[in-house]
Symmetry: C2
């Protein structure tokens, strides 16, 4: 139960939904999330952490970068179903399109260069 609540709570925030929609496009490091959503570094990092804690996302280190990706397997029962719901949602939502646009121009350049 605790677990299920945590899973839904993770999705009950616009920032985190936007992050997941971006990660459904492709895996990203934190600074790419910052650029795609145009948000601060701590905000990106913290919300990625919450998504990871709920089981939506996994991370791996790649040099200085932490790369986050949708956890396609491993997901506990509900998570997989919820990812599918998200995959089909918000397909024409303006902010999601913007995020995708910015993502396409994002580079692994680090927050120093972005100053958010």
């Amino acid at each position: 139960m605790r677990e299920l609540v945590k899973v839904f709570r993770a999705l009950s925030d616009e920032t985190r939904i936007r992050i997941l929609k971006v990660l459904l496009e492709r895996e990203c490091c934190v600074c790419e999330i910052m650029q795609a959503l145009d948000i601060s570094q701590s905000r990106a990092s913290r919300n990625l952490g919450i998504l990871e804690g709920a089981g939506f996302v996994k991370s791996r280190r790649e040099g200085l970068w932490m790369v986050y990706a949708i956890d396609e397997q491993a997901m506990n029962s509900y998570v997989a179903a919820l990812i599918e719901v998200l995959r089909g949602s918000l397909v024409n939502e303006e902010i999601i399109l913007w995020d995708r646009e910015r993502l396409s121009r994002a580079m692994r350049v680090g927050p120093r260069a972005i100053r958010k």
Copy 2:
């Protein structure tokens, strides 16, 4: 987006998940929810209102009673999928079993008789 967040937010609370699991058993008036979950009247009413606002639940008046039920049709795209996720979840969760047990003994007797 606003709508999607509202839907997930509605599920991000243990009380509301318990209510939905009870309503998946059968429709209930507010006082039956109070008895099944062993919670106060205002708590039952308010959380039912939130579930209704998010589209999970519909209500009809039946004399003095307001009867709440899972909104099987009408549900906007995601809601139906989420109901299905819930239907398959928590099948052996202790608190859910207790709620169901208390529900089976609940009667339309009104909060006056329950004093919660």
